[in-house]
Symmetry: C2
Subunit: 423 residues, 2 copies
């Protein structure tokens, strides 16, 4: 069978499974999730053995030590993956929630309920823990999962999916085994087929770098939820508390640099630049962060004896995901908003200010998934927002925006009951 | 300028306008809408004169009388268009509604608010009243409208947009004139460019026939909301009240046949077919409806002396939009659900039954935007649902499903306020 037939076949099985998943009770789904978690722990050795094949292949290919570490599974890491699945079982079930309802003047009773999407395709890079995590979130929200992980983790992902499916097969709770499937194949063609499976797959969620997301968004005929690219800004206003501004900037940039909610550009109001920048540049330097500044920032760097690289157009546009930050001095809050409008990926922006009118002005005009006042950009996260878990952070405006929890993994339908009403 | 540059230029202006629309108060938007309505009435003659050009072109091209009538504007019709715009002003403003909110354990205050999408592109066929209607709904929800109507109504649409823009220009309420724009050009290339304006246009809503919608869904890189194709089913259960079933079937099919929520197939439980079908076939026949039946239905037709055409595969799949209906006898509710799963466009399905368990079973398993119990399919409509107005009926699962009112024309964002919180 070619890739097209293979992907079509798994998608068809997912569609059938989805029909069985929709009416399942929370109790049935939670029991399945707990059985999946137990099976992961019980068959940890098998998973680790499969993972060794991926690791050996990565080492032979000269993959960096950091990447090999991200790929590697240990008994502890498998136990943590199982714990995350159990945690999903503990979360409330979004399916069946009445979003709105009313009784119409003619007596018809209208209810809008949350229902599963049906089939969710997830295309992801990197660590094999995403496999179990995505499967668990899809199952809890009543969706069949079609998982297409990175080819570098193919053996690990296959082993994990095999364990999860065996756990479902061992239950008699009515959860179909095909609720969790790995898309066969490691080539680009199988990704392409998944993106073209309109009518079988209800939504595609790509998780990974900008290039993967861009490919899926441009080529897919299946509706896509864009995730995760974060060119995030911190704007330090003229009325900022400068101690707070230094602390928030350092935390936003350097607490963890490889994540989408890390700050990538700082904009400083001209009115406090002379006071703020020498301190900020020094502290960033001590934290190992390279600053790429405009002329004004470089001037302050020189005066303070801190090296500042020259910012190019690319520095404003780029998501570094490293110990680097772009920095500019702006004459006003409007100039900061204009800069953000031009370069932001509309993920997260923060303002540091003591001025209530300025905070209100900024939050009303900055069009990003999350706009923070006097808080670190690192808070844009499903866990931090209290959603329990997240499948990703949407940077698009359709359907879901910001951290996506179980609620965002559902659609709705209207149920209307009457006693013979006609028009 | 080529079409690409022209579409790009209007989209850029829409983007600028959207930034100004976002923070506008309801009062400013409502004043603009009322000025637009007044201008339509005041300049009715100009609009009708432009419409005459479209009508003359249509007549010369041999367009059917019904189509020419749909295209034609009169003073009364323009007044009705203006009234619809005033009605939109009376509806509540969805922007700024707090969808959810909480105070996190660390003291951060989290609010999720409704915000405009930004720029909405609407590609539509047919009547010029959609032009003012879509412009009004976009403006009320804080969005800039990029309108691409049918080339057959180009002169009418140009005149209407020109009147609306002049009305905005005459105000000093801060509503930018470019809140309402017609996409220049009548060729396919300008539609194509609109579909590729990702990053400038936030969402595209096609309104029209299956072929238009299919083109937009397949070719667009801008996120699309699919609307309006309705292959709707009525299932008459073994436990149906047969008087009610006849009345609901007739209303669902024949009250208005050219609309997406009209019934296109009736499925009849075998247990009541002998009692129900002779009556139903007779009444459908008297209402001028041609029935396309399977063997069982044709047998009942023959016995009752009512002609029934032979249903082909296409009859099950097709949205007739005419005085035709497909009909089949099914052995069980599960068989009805399976038929619907195979052929439905997931718009609206109805069940007629006195059995509470069967109604519950059917509504839980039929995966359509609206599932009705003992009510006519014709109720799936924004006006009937109490939404005040609708921009279309979504048949997709992402973002909006079913009738789309002003609420569905918004996105959300998170505003998070703190006092220096870091992770």
């Amino acid at each position: 069978m070619g890739d097209e037939q293979q992907v079509h076949a798994v998608a068809l099985r997912a569609r059938e499974a989805a029909a069985e998943l929709t009416p399942l009770t929370r109790a049935a789904k939670d029991a399945a999730l707990r059985a999946m978690a137990d099976a992961l722990v019980a068959r940890s050795d098998e998973i680790i053995a499969a993972n060794l094949t991926d690791v050996a292949r990565a080492v032979a290919a000269g993959t960096s030590e950091a990447m090999v570490d991200r790929l590697t599974l240990t008994a502890e890491r498998v136990a943590a993956i199982a714990d995350a699945v159990r945690h999903v079982a503990d979360l409330p079930d979004p399916v069946g929630e009445v979003v709105r309802g009313s009784t119409l003047p003619n007596g018809l009773e209208l209810r809008q309920l949350r229902v599963p999407f049906g089939v969710i395709g997830i295309i992801y890079e990197g660590r094999p823990n995403v496999t179990a995590d995505a499967a668990a979130l899809c199952l809890k929200s009543g969706n069949a999962a079609l998982l297409r992980g990175s080819s570098s983790a193919y053996d690990s992902n296959s082993a994990i999916v095999s364990v999860l499916r065996d756990a479902l097969a061992g239950l008699d709770g009515g959860v179909p085994v095909d609720a969790v499937q790995l898309v066969p194949g490691t080539g680009r063609e199988s990704v392409h087929q998944l993106m073209r499976a309109r009518g079988l797959v209800d939504v595609l969620i790509p998780r990974g770098g900008a290039s993967l997301i861009n490919t899926v968004v441009t080529e897919s005929t299946v509706p896509v939820i864009e995730t995760g690219v974060g060119n995030c800004h911190v704007y330090v206003d003229a009325d900022a508390d400068l101690d707070m501004a230094v602390s928030l900037l350092l935390n936003s940039k350097a607490q963890r640099v490889s994540v989408c909610n890390a700050a990538e550009t700082v904009l400083v109001h001209a009115g406090i630049a002379a006071e703020f920048l020498p301190r900020a540049l020094k502290e960033l330097h001590e934290a190992g962060v390279t600053v790429h500044g405009d002329d004004a920032v470089r001037g302050h760097g020189e005066a303070a004896g801190v090296p500042v690289a020259e910012a190019t157009e690319q520095d404003w546009a780029e998501e570094y995901l490293s110990y680097d930050i772009a920095a500019a001095v702006v004459p006003s809050v409007d100039a900061a908003i204009a800069h953000i409008r031009r370069y932001s990926s509309q993920h997260t922006e923060a303002i540091v200010t003591r001025s209530q009118p300025t905070a209100r002005y900024f939050t009303a005009r900055v069009d990003s998934a999350a706009v923070l006042v006097n808080a670190s950009t690192r808070f844009t996260d499903g866990g931090e927002f209290g959603f329990g878990a997240e499948i990703g952070i949407s940077t698009q405006k359709l359907h879901a925006r910001g951290p996506m929890g179980l609620t965002e993994m559902t659609s709705t339908k209207y149920i209307v009951t009457g006693d013979g009403q006609t028009r």
